[in-house]
């Protein structure tokens, strides 16, 4: 009887282990990078509505959002992109395998984003024309990386 209980416990422990193993090991990484991108999008949205003329230009709000964009850019690194967390291998991931094939180029593009975000911080505090120009640079940095390293959604 005791043996049976032990065996059952051992089996259930094994089964639990298997379940734990089957859980997506990259869920945190994918969620983390999506969260960073979402915050970035929120701040770009505040800047963009001023650029489009939908909101009145406000230097304080613009600066604050530009600072957030720069802060998020400074956090981006391979830490959020563990090997194996690519499109089709990890749930919800759109990260292309090219990231791990050419990590130096990937990081160079993140450096470009940091440069553009620093310029946006300065430009967005001046006037709406500066903000527009700064957004163009950041947008180019975003899409340079997404073009090479992100699977387009359907």
């Amino acid at each position: 009887m005791r043996h049976t209980i032990l065996l059952a416990a051992a089996l259930s422990a094994l089964a639990f282990g298997a379940v734990a193993q089957a859980e997506d090991p990259f869920a945190d990484a994918v969620e983390m990078r999506h969260g960073l991108m979402l915050q970035m999008a929120t701040d770009m949205g505040k800047l963009g509505s001023m650029a489009k003329g939908e909101a009145v230009y406000d230097a304080a709000i613009a600066s604050r959002s530009a600072e957030n964009v720069a802060a998020i850019a400074s956090v981006l690194s391979m830490d959020q992109f563990p090997a194996g967390s690519e499109y089709k291998a990890a749930a919800d991931s759109f990260a292309l395998p090219a990231i791990w094939a050419t990590p130096d180029d990937f990081m160079a593009k993140i450096t470009d984003l940091n440069t553009a975000a620093a310029a946006l911080k300065v430009a967005s505090a001046t006037d709406v024309e500066g903000l527009k120009a700064g957004m163009g640079q950041v947008g180019a940095a975003c899409s340079a990386c997404h073009k090479a390293y992100r699977q387009p959604e359907d």
Partner: protein
């Protein structure tokens, strides 16, 4: 029996007639006469027409985008097309071409040797280009570097490997009619010229028929991505509900109204559009608003 003989005769004459009609039809030699090219305007045509996006090396960035050495691969149902070298190299590029040669290639799909070119080169769109723009483009392209990389052959099987078949395809599908016909506002008219003649939006955003021609009845209504995964979106007002300001911002910065950013081949298009004057992006936005909604 006599009727059969007649039918055969008519068939032979018909086939002969088709053969004559489907021969490469270059422009008259006078087509570019009296026009002189402007390099600055030509550069705008070059970006609007997206030449570099396909003819630069895969993943080229910065100045390397102006080295039109070719080599990018374009998969299709008919086989894989390899973009040729169109740099100024005399042997492997188009360094010896005249302005008329360029005009024939891009608006008629005819090479200087008088052969049909495959419509992977979007001459079904460029056919609508103004000759002045072609001559300006020629002037700009002559300022670009030469690169000695030989062009690679296309990877296509029979019967598509027979260039004569392209002639029949052209007879059926290449014309200079606007997909969005009629009188438009001056801004939308400019947008139509950019979208339909230069930027060739329809080549990816419009579904194709069994023969690979654009289904103009479903203009810009979205299509499968020939490169495999994913779908190229419907950009008619049925699905593209962005404001004109949203469209302009997208074509300027690559940001969608949700501040996602452009990726894939469209990122090249945005890069190109961002180099044009803002008025041109506004023109494209107004044109897209005028296109009939198609589900």
């Amino acid at each position: 029996m006599r009727i059969l003989r007649w039918l055969v005769a008519v068939g032979v004459i018909g086939a002969g007639g088709l053969w004559v009609l489907a021969r490469p039809a270059p422009l008259a030699a006078s087509a570019v006469e009296g026009l002189s090219g402007d390099i600055t305007r030509g550069e705008a045509v070059f970006w609007a027409a997206g030449c570099a996006s396909c003819h630069m090396a895969e993943k080229a960035e910065g100045d390397a985008e102006l080295v039109l050495k070719g080599g990018q691969r374009f998969a299709s149902e008919f086989g894989t097309f390899l973009a040729p070298n169109i740099s100024q190299d005399a042997e492997h590029g188009i360094g010896t071409w005249s302005a008329l040669d360029l005009a024939n290639a891009i608006t008629r799909g005819v090479s200087p040797e008088g052969e049909h070119l495959y419509p992977a080169l979007p001459y079904a769109s460029y056919a609508k280009m103004q000759m002045q723009d072609v001559v300006d483009l020629y002037a700009f392209m002559q300022t670009l570097p030469a690169d000695p990389t030989p062009s690679q052959p296309h990877e296509i099987g029979f019967p598509f490997s027979q260039r004569a078949a392209v002639g029949v395809w052209k007879l059926m599908f290449v014309n200079t009619d606007w997909a969005l016909p009629g009188n438009l506002t001056p801004t939308a008219d400019r947008g139509r010229y950019i979208a339909e003649a230069l930027a060739h939006c329809g080549e990816c955003h419009t579904p194709r028929n069994a023969l690979g021609a654009l289904d103009t009845a479903r203009w810009l209504a979205g299509a499968p991505n020939p490169s495999g995964d994913g779908k190229i979106p419907n950009i008619t007002p049925a699905k593209l509900t962005w404001s004109a300001a949203d469209i302009v911002q997208y074509l300027t910065t690559g940001f969608t109204p949700e501040y996602d950013s452009v990726g894939g081949h469209m990122a090249h298009v945005v890069e190109n559009m961002a180099r044009l004057p803002e008025s041109d992006r506004q023109a494209v936005a107004e044109y897209l608003k005028a296109v009939p909604a198609a589900e």
